[in-house]
Amino acid sequence: MESEKLKKNLLTIIGLIIAALLLSSCEEEISLELPVVQEKLVIDGYIEPNGPALVWVSRSIPFSVASEMVVESDLLIRDALITITDGMVTDTLKQIPGGFIFGGTGLYWNYNLTGQIGQTYELRVEHEGRVATATTTIPQPIALDSIWFQTEPNFSDRGFIRGILTDPDTIGNYYKVFSKAINKDIIIFWKPFGTT
């Protein structure tokens, strides 16, 4: 009997020790000494059938800058020279001024040149002596065979969006699914915001 009691007490003591160990952690803000990293040009863009070419140009923020306060000019590039060509027509993209800043990034577009299915486009971005290029081809659109919403029994306010499409027999197809809640999410510049 005695040893049973001792065992029980001992277990309590061990439990308290473990609790004390777990509670004695500490969290503090620190400053790291980091190697200086060169900022890089960040380009994010797309072109869709019958839509204009949209290109976001910004800078990457080295950690040494990000650990201080980031200001708009750390991110934004307002004076990039952007051209797009479909092989026949070459056009320059213009920066959308002021209030149209999305994600702290400068957005450039051109609505004279619209995307055509099967067409190949070349993009060239130049800024402060740095040049970046990219090539893309608009693939044939694939229609959804069917799409439906399936409620989830455990949740009253959510469920699954399911759909079926036929993937053509070519390698390297990727699909990006956008969704939005009606009367809830706002769309800015064709990029669904809130859910990707």
Binding site: S25, E28, W56, A66, V70, E72, D185, K191
Partner: protein, 419 residues
Amino acid sequence: MLSNYLNISNLCLFFIVYYEFFGLSFFPNPNHSIKFGGVLTLHRFTPGNASASSGDVDFNTGVRKKLRSQEIGIYLLDDFEIGNRIRINAGLRYNYFNHIGPYDDFIKDQNNTTIDTVHYKKGKKVADYHRLEPRISLRYAVGLSSSFKAAFTQNYQNVHLASFATVSFPTDTWVPSTARIKPQLSRQYSLGYYRNFKKNTWETSAELYYKNMENLIEYKDGSLVEDNVAENIDNSFTFGSGDSYGIEFLVKKRKGRTTGWVGYTISKTTRSFQELNKGQSFPSRFDRRHDLSVVVTHRVNRKWKISGILVYGTGNSFTIPSSFFTFDGKLVAEAGERNGYRLPEYHRLDVSATLKGKESRRFSSSWTFSIFNLYNRRNPYFISFQEDGDYFSPDLQIKATQVSLFAFLPSVTWNFKFK
């Protein structure tokens, strides 16, 4: 405001049953012993799970898939002397590893698209390995109090540790060998010199070692922990090799009122993976250039004993984001050089005093008063990065936060023993 989160439950559950099913010893003569035995090990691994959401959408990350395996080891160990000066310890171990069903294997093409699923029934073999582990050590006595020792050991390990370096919280996953994860091979070569002084009161040694490891695993760049949808855990790993070398010094005082030891190791551990760090070798997370331990115990009188422990080690290496950028409306971190950053060094002093209690015929006890981390060193456990502010304005700051465990901790322990 947009909210994205990825939650990784790091509870990679596993249990191992270890059963020595036979063991025999023979002594042909007083200076010769032979041991023969077998060990059965059963593994059950349940990898951790992840949940993710973006805005109002929850992602289905699939169900946990258990991995079952069994291991049989049979060993023979022979220890004998040649003349007065040479002692040899030689052994051979045969190891059989077997990964068994139930298991679903997803066959992928080069674009990582599932092209076929192979289902294995309960108890059916998925993959197996036969391995041999030889070992030999040779000791040569120079005189009565000094000797040289040379050793070679080959080991296969069927339980692998994968660390997820790009997630700030250190996520360690243990996985068994599978068809894609081959048993980890390590070969260690060592050479040491041992010398005792003052009638074995002092023991000293210096040991040089080199270790080569093959079939090490690491997460592939850009892989997410425990992405379980139509995916096997072993698909997210990449394989490489590692090297470790160093020299260990040890001074030990065994007799007298004050005893203890000082150990110091200088070493270097690197890993090299074709698919990581542009193929260049990088420091292992546990690469520790300097490692020092000092342990001292002093018997004050018949009742009291005091002791102190000092440890010092180079900080672990880890990967930190070198820069951040906005892409697709999100803030993305660009990983810096793999394991290119060092945590501050780890050091700590613990002290304790032990009081011997009254001793009866049936019972003996003692009290230990101790303080862990006496000078309250805040040793870093991990560093995490948090976004502060709103990058859509932008009005953003990335903060580095260090989490330390086990600060100054006094404790009292009562030890007792029934005779």
